[in-house]
Amino acid sequence: MDQYMILKDYVSSADAETALFYVIAILAISLSVGVISDRNIIRSGFILIGVFGAISGLFLMLQAQFLALAQVMIYAVGITLVVVIALMLTNPRSEREAVITEGDEFSQETGAVQFIQRLQQGTPAFVAVFSFFTIYLAIRSESWTPVTEKVSTDNVKVLGEALTTVYSLPFEFASVLLLAALIGAIMLAKAEKRQPAIESAED
């Protein structure tokens, strides 16, 4: 019986949590590497859903149930839309027929142009490394104050109260921004009425 309690304690201890964190983190990282390395854009869209699923697992470990579920709900549907748009904009057959020609891409260009092109290719890598170190240093800085207080089990309530009292202004700003984006998208996508003068000119 005692051994059983020890086992139970171990399962709910910090060690097990750390192990679980590493499992989920490795899953998330390997899936995100999959997203950028897969040559088929639709397939990488589906893998992206897996990445966000793993990240929602991290949220669950932090006892942020609401955020984890919102992550699943929004990204599962949102990325499905991205996949659908990718389906509409790409031609799968041309991708299959394309012959990968690496190496002789820059052969016709002069040295300076080649250098600029290589620099352009290096930019994403630079941005990635730079932002990684910025975030890493921010996370490891001393200014965080860990709180030992227990997380409320009813954290949806806490979240809702915070959003409607302390953070109501940022919340409203975010919704106005989304509204603006929505109206902008509709304006862009709306079919313009052709002006009769141009139409007659085309005829």
Binding site: Y4, I42, F46, Q65, L69, A70, V77, L81, V83, L87
Partner: protein, 481 residues
Amino acid sequence: MIPNAPEIGKLLFIICFWICAIFLPVWLVSWAVGVLLPMLLEQGSPSMAMTATAETLRALTPIISVMVFIPINAMFMVLYERRALALFTVRLGPNRVGPDGLLQTAADAVKLLFKEDITPRGADAFMFTLAPIIFFAPSIFGALPLLAAITNNHSLYQITNLPTGIFYILAAASLPVVALVMAGWSSNNKYSLVGGLRAAAQAISYEIPLVLSLVTVCLMAGSLDVVKIAQQQDGGILNWNIAGGGALRGLDKAIQTKLGVETTPLITPQQSSDPTETPVAAPTTFEEVIHQYYPFEFLSYISAGVLIFCSFILLGLYLTGACAEINRIPFDLPEAESELVSGYNTEYSGIKFAIFFLAEFTNLFIVSSIATVMFLGGGDNPIPQWLLNKMPLEPIQKSLGAILSPFINGLHLIDPDTFWAAFWVIFKVYTFVFIAILIRGTLPRFRIDQLMDFGWKRLVPLSLIAFLVVVFARVLVVCHG
């Protein structure tokens, strides 16, 4: 009088037979896993491994009972649907395998399992295999919080009780659309692709009214927890969310006071939240109770009426949205048989097709049980308590108790709290399923532009208006939550 009475009789017989065939195994398995085996293990030798196994078995009970339930239930629902449709269209339906076609779908299931599993040339084999799995998985784990709600939070199913219950169910319900697009794309078939794209467009459009209607119900209940929502609606049809989310609760209580039924002291939320105020003495007359629950007299009566009207609209919105989410007629555009040769699952055969089929019917069941828990009071008896007390049920209860007491006390085979709840849940859920079949037999399929028009121009504004009206109307009445 009714010319097709024998056919209706046969359908009723099939329903009764199959419901027994579904729920007796589920009951026995969950009893064996959750009660009997742990009991035997712990009696045998109280070692570490034994206790751990017993606890694990208890924790696994919900998932095992769901696993037993899903395949048998899907078999029943296919037969139920085919026979009921045959009844509506004056045909005979499947009537060869077994007495009156009773075993038709069992034979079909065996046939599907032995069929060859084909992967078409040019298909993305990995995604092709993954799609049915992703489609099926949410219907297993998405329904779990409902188990706690419909069994009155029974100790074996308490593990599935989440504080964010309904949100969890909705998050799980939004996953199948991924699988539909995946299936449509990976099949390397134009019809399938069109089916997948249609599924994405439809699911995203109809998710909004669906979620908004459930959010409004949560607003009336003041909670996201399905168990809490189900328990609030205890005590007869007047307390259910369909009756204005508790707007008629005051009437129920008033009648109880008038008839002199023993009730718990009535404490309104406003009073309980303020500790300094001295507790008001429990009202004793009909008028006082009415005044307590409807404080603004005439305005309150009107808003109670508005709430009742709104909750009927919400149920309609929910059922429409849910019908579209699970791709049933009249919203079965993703798998339109006459246009797209069954859409995203054109290329599927054998076990994978069976999994798609299984998940579709399980989703129908889940959608009906969400409606039951959110609107129709979960496992609550529709007859109000004061009416129940007047009925001569005492001798029946006593004799039933005498017959069943060895099962209740000795073997723990029957839980008296859960037994009637389960009965009512089964009755209500299969009524919703029947309505879905009736709609399938009645309405033709939408055209895709009509579908989008109906979703975005009618349902979304209607659900927003209902939401706003409920927000203002419920201030004037003392409701749930």
